[in-house]
Each structure stands twice: as structure tokens, then as C-alpha cells.
């Protein structure tokens, strides 16, 4: 247990150390770098799992940085003075998503990246992004949240645009940077307002003091806007197709997990920080409507795409809509404590894990296609199934899971969302179902166009590392599809409960008593 108490900070600090040490090891020898990267990746995953086990078995875990012992109280004289990490069920769940996606990305990058095309740089940036994501998910401090948000922004933009020898990635990176910066500034401004009002940055302390003044409402609006911008929800989604489409595959899947970390920030703000003062039905309706809008716009935009990367990117944006819809419906039902509200929350949160795995699998498969043929243009692709047998299988699995075909995992989470959003408003449920149907049509066309038909050209097969990475995600998809009950009960349930009625536990754990 002495080691376990340090697990939350080790999960953030080790990838950070790993990132900065990576170029040094490269200077010595490349194989040393690969061993180091694998060791850091494995250790980080182990730490995240340790945290999750501890949180799910014994409640909220708090880590006080710089204190004499990790469990020392942050509150001295009635006022919190140190930086804390506070990991509750939701944070631990998000950590598991990040760890899963990070592991797949790392394994994939061993086989995917080329030495002469900045492999060391890409891996360094990946570890920075990973550390930033885990930091966003584990921190219990608003300003720390902003710092980690910026760490992920910078690392993500660099990952999108580091291939400066092509023009499209640079443009995508610039667009992304502009949106991330505006979003980040909105968040910073809102944190400034809260700090000016209450003189503290600790989320739990702010939550216990927040009064719901006009300024608080402005701060809430700014946080909502900034985080949704980073999450890529409509109407601030325009960076996402560029970034996902142009980023190399191993980076694109981490970008997806990163948008989810922003969504997690939004849940934390709504359900922990402001839940006592906001008008839950109004904000819930707002979030749910934005979710429905995101589904509709992104899916309709996906219909017209001719580029495999952008098509998957719009698919990924539409999935953000389902998460917003599920949790928004839950928030709308929060004040009346309706049971279907919790069901909606479980659906939305379960969908985050499903989305990470399925969209990740599709993007990795698209990366194989790009590497095999040098293009992602659907018009010039075809018949890849003859050469890329495993990849076609993985892509098909991803398509079916994304569209929510039973018995795969997408069905489990989407069904929870359908049945609960129907209770709030049948229109929301209808949009969600329509989105799924269109998505299936779009991706069936993409699968048919790229993988079926006569062999048009020789394709370079995927390397074993890439297949292994896709295999990890595919195994998770199948496991979640075959035993959704297990996942809902042991992972999603505690995470949803932590938001639904866990605020008092969170406050008590951080502030004591």
C-alpha cells in the first residue's frame, strides 16, 4: 500500500520523465530508446490500473503534492494550500481509457513510424500528450487542470503538424492550434474569475464555496465553451476532421482520447464544481441538444466525404455527440433523481470507452491503408481485402461496433442512450437512432470501397506491431460486446455513480470531514 499511494502521481510523472529522457536515450542508441519507451509505457499502464483498482475498491484517492505524506490534509486553517490529485471513480475510469489508447498507440508506433520521419520526436510528443491527459483526469485543482490542458494542446498540435515536409498537416496543425488556444483562453479566463471570487483553485473547495452569482454563471459558460471547443463538439468541430484526418494514425487515436479528457473536464465542472448552483434541467437540455446537433451535423458531413481519414474523423466527432447526449440527459434528470437519468449517464460514459476503442481501431486500420497504398482517397482505393486480410477484419469489426450492431459494444452503450433520452424527449432519441443508421451506411460504403472488389494494386501488409495494436483494441471491443454487463457493473457504474451522487464523497475526501 505504501507504493500504491504514489500511483496517481507516478502515472503522470513517469510518462513525463519518459518523454524528456527519450531523446537522451536516442543519442546513446535507438534500441535503448525502444526499451525505455516500452518500459515507461508498461509502467504507466500498471500505475493507472493500480489507481483504478484502489479507487474502485476503497473510494476516492487523494494525493497531496509536496506534503510530508501523500495523505496529509490539504486544508490548513480552513483553507486548502497545496496542489492535490483527487481520483474518484470517473477519473479512474478516464485514466483506464487513456491507458488503453496510449498502449495501443505506443505498440502501433513501433511498427508504423519511420526512423527518418521523426520517430523519436513523435514518441516524445506522444508521452507528453499521455502525461497531460492523465494529469487532466487525475488533478483536483482547476489551475493544474488548465496547465495539463495546455500540455495536451501543445503536444497534440505538434503531433498533428510535425511532418513539415507535407503541407496539409501543417495547415491542420495551425487550425487546431488556433481553436485550442481560444478554448484554452476561455478556460483560463473562467478560472481567473473563480480565483478572483473565491481566492482558491482547489475544485472541492470551490465547489463547497460557490454561490451561483452572475460571475459564476459567466465562468460556467466560459468553461462550457472552452471545453466543448477542445472536445470538438458542433459548432466548434471544424478543427477535428483536419486534425484527425492529417495526423499520423498512432497520434490520431490519442487525439480522440484527448477530446474525451476535455469532456471529462466538462463533467467534472458540471457535476462536481457547479452542481449545487446550476439549473440542472436547463444546462442538461443545452448539453443534450448540443449532443444531438453534433450527431446530426457530423454524420451528415460524413456522408459526403471522399477521404477515408476525414470520413472516420467525422464519425469520431459524431460519437462525441452521443456522449454529450447521454450525460446531458443525465444532467437534465439530476434534480428530480429519475432512474433513467443514471441510465443515460451510464450510456454516455460507457460510450466514451467504446468510442476510444472503436474509433481508435478504425483510425489504426486507416493508417495501415495509408501506409500500404500511400493514399486515403476512397475513389482510388479498392480491393485491399486481398492483401490486408487482418486489417479488413479489424476495420469491419470497428464499423459494426461504431454503428451499434448487436452484439458488439456500441450497441450496449447506444441502447442505454436511446431508451433514456426517449424519456426526456423522443426527438433526441430519434436523432440518435438516425445518426446510427446513417453512420452504418457511410461506413459500409467506406468498407466496401476500400477493402472489397477486385485487387487494384499491390498493398504493403501491416507489420506485426501494428496488427498487435489493432488486436488489443479489437479484443477490448469483443470483450465489451460479449460481456457488457460486467463492464457496466464494475467500471461504468462506479464512474457514473461518482458523478451522479458522488460529489459529497469527493468533497469529504479532499477537504476532510
Amino acid at each position: 500500500m505504501t507504493f500504491g499511494v504514489h500511483a496517481p502521481i507516478l502515472a503522470i510523472a513517469v510518462p513525463l520523465l519518459g518523454a524528456f529522457a527519450l531523446p537522451v536515450f536516442t543519442k546513446l542508441h535507438r534500441s535503448l530508446r525502444d526499451i525505455w519507451a516500452a518500459a515507461v509505457g508498461a509502467f504507466t499502464c500498471a500505475m493507472v490500473i493500480t489507481v483504478a483498482v484502489q479507487v474502485f475498491t476503497s473510494g476516492v484517492q487523494v494525493y497531496t503534492l509536496g506534503a510530508a505524506s501523500p495523505t496529509a490534509s490539504v486544508v490548513q486553517g480552513g483553507f486548502p494550500i497545496r496542489i492535490v490529485l483527487a481520483v474518484d471513480g470517473m477519473s479512474a475510469f478516464m485514466g483506464l481509457i487513456s491507458a488503453l489508447v496510449g498502449l495501443a498507440s505506443l505498440v502501433y508506433s513501433f511498427g508504423f513510424l519511420k526512423e527518418e520521419q521523426g520517430k523519436t520526436l513523435a514518441m516524445t510528443l506522444f508521452f507528453l500528450l499521455w502525461a497531460g491527459m492523465l494529469g487532466m483526469e487525475y488533478t483536483g485543482d482547476m489551475f493544474n487542470f488548465f496547465v495539463f490542458l495546455e500540455v495536451t494542446s501543445i503536444a497534440a498540435c505538434s503531433l498533428v503538424g510535425y511532418r513539415t515536409w507535407e503541407s496539409a498537416p501543417v495547415e491542420a496543425a495551425f487550425k487546431t492550434m488556433a481553436m485550442y488556444t481560444v478554448g484554452g483562453l476561455l478556460v483560463l479566463l473562467s478560472i481567473g474569475i473563480l480565483y478572483g471570487e473565491y481566492g482558491a483553485l482547489n475544485i472541492a473547495y470551490l465547489s463547497s464555496k460557490v454561490v451561483g452569482s452572475q460571475l459564476d454563471k459567466i465562468a460556467l459558460g466560459l468553461l462550457l465553451g472552452g471545453l466543448l471547443m477542445k472536445a470538438g463538439a458542433v459548432p466548434a468541430h471544424m478543427w477535428a476532421p483536419d486534425a484527425y484526418g492529417e495526423a499520423p494514425a498512432q497520434a490520431a487515436i490519442v487525439l480522440v482520447a484527448n477530446t474525451q479528457a476535455s469532456l471529462y473536464g466538462l463533467w467534472r465542472v458540471l457535476f462536481t464544481l457547479f452542481v449545487g448552483v446550476l439549473s440542472a434541467p436547463a444546462v442538461g437540455w443545452l448539453v443534450a441538444s448540443l449532443g444531438a446537433l453534433t450527431i446530426l451535423v457530423a454524420v451528415l458531413a460524413a456522408v459526403t466525404q471522399r477521404d477515408l481519414g476525414r470520413l472516420i474523423a467525422y464519425g469520431a466527432v459524431s460519437q462525441i455527440g452521443y456522449m454529450l447526449l447521454g450525460v446531458g440527459v443525465g444532467l437534465a434528470a439530476l434534480s428530480s433523481r429519475q432512474d433513467w437519468g443514471l441510465v443515460a449517464m451510464k450510456g454516455g460514459i460507457f460510450h466514451m470507452l467504446n468510442d476510444a476503442a472503436t474509433v481508435g481501431l478504425l483510425m489504426l486500420a486507416a493508417g495501415v491503408v495509408r501506409r500500404a497504398t500511400g493514399t486515403k482517397d476512397l475513389a482510388s482505393l479498392g480491393g485491399l481485402g486481398h492483401d490486408l486480410k487482418w486489417t479488413s477484419g479489424f476495420f469491419l469489426l470497428g464499423v459494426l461496433a461504431l454503428a451499434g450492431i448487436p452484439p458488439l459494444n456500441g450497441f450496449a452503450s447506444k441502447f442505454l442512450i436511446y431508451e433514456s433520452s426517449f424519456r426526456l424527449s423522443p426527438i433526441l432519441a430519434a436523432i440518435a437512432v438516425l445518426g446510427s443508421i446513417l453512420l452504418l451506411a457511410v461506413f459500409a460504403r467506406a468498407f466496401q470501397g476500400a477493402f472489397l472488389g477486385p485487387r487494384l494494386r499491390e498493398a504493403r501488409p501491416a507489420s506485426p506491431a501494428m496488427l498487435a495494436a489493432m488486436g488489443i483494441l479489437a479484443a477490448v471491443i469483443l470483450a465489451m460486446g460479449l460481456a457488457p454487463g460486467f463492464f457496466v457493473e464494475h467500471l461504468v457504474g462506479p464512474a457514473a455513480e461518482a458523478l451522479w451522487r458522488g460529489r459529497d464523497l469527493y468533497l469529504a475526501a479532499v477537504l476532510g470531514g
Partner: protein
Amino acid sequence: MTVVVRTVARIIAPMILAFGGYVIMHGHLTPGGGFQGGAVAASALALLAISFGFGRWKGIKAPLSFLEDLGALAFVALGFLGIGYTFFRNVLAASGGLFGAPVPPGPNPGLLETGGTLPLMNWAVGLKVIAGLGSVVLLLGLFGGEDDR
């Protein structure tokens, strides 16, 4: 640049570097710190690069990047120093060793030997900022050349 600019740069650059070093060194006592001092010192690099031309500094880009990396590494490593208690625990404060002098109660003129890991972290950040801003300036100057990535 002209000989006037070069001569002035030659005289001023060491002073700027020294002032940057001072700001970093006294970061735990006076306003400023690693980032601010590093930015000051990096402006000396910018001055030298502009007045003597970017071309002759091309060779130091790679060492600068490496130095930046070492600075970041040192910072995280200093954080790990306290892991016996907690991450970022200031284990050197009042320990009697490097920067470990105890702070006497009451007002004092600012004792350089205090602060524990704080001055060391300031140096790590300062190193990173000097090297980081330095290579940014160099990249801006070299942009468009064959070496621009």
C-alpha cells in the same frame, strides 16, 4: 550587422547573460525565477544571433535542443527526489546541505543558501527556457534554409 552593433552586442551580451543568471539564481528570494531569468538570458542569444548573423550559430541548434531536454529532465528528476515522502517534496530545505541552510525567523535580507530544491528547480527551468527560446530564435532566423526542420 555593422561594426557598431557588433561591438555593442559583444559588450552587452555578457551583461545580459549575467543578469539572466542573477534572476534565475535569486528566483527563490526576489521577483523573477527560472522562466524570467531564462527569457532574459535567451535575449542575449537573440542579440548575438541577429548582430553576427544566424548562419554562424547553426551548429549550436542541436546542442541547444539537447540542453533543453536536459533541463526538463532535471526538473522532473528533482520532483522525484521527494518521492520518499511525496512527489515534489522539498527534501533539501533546512537539511544543511546544498541550499539547505535553515531560514532564521523574522525579517532577513534574503539568504541565498536557503530554499532547498527550489533554486535547483529554478536552474532547471532556466536552462530549459534559455535553450528553448534560443532554439526558437535560431529557427526563426534559419527558416527557409535547408535546416528548417
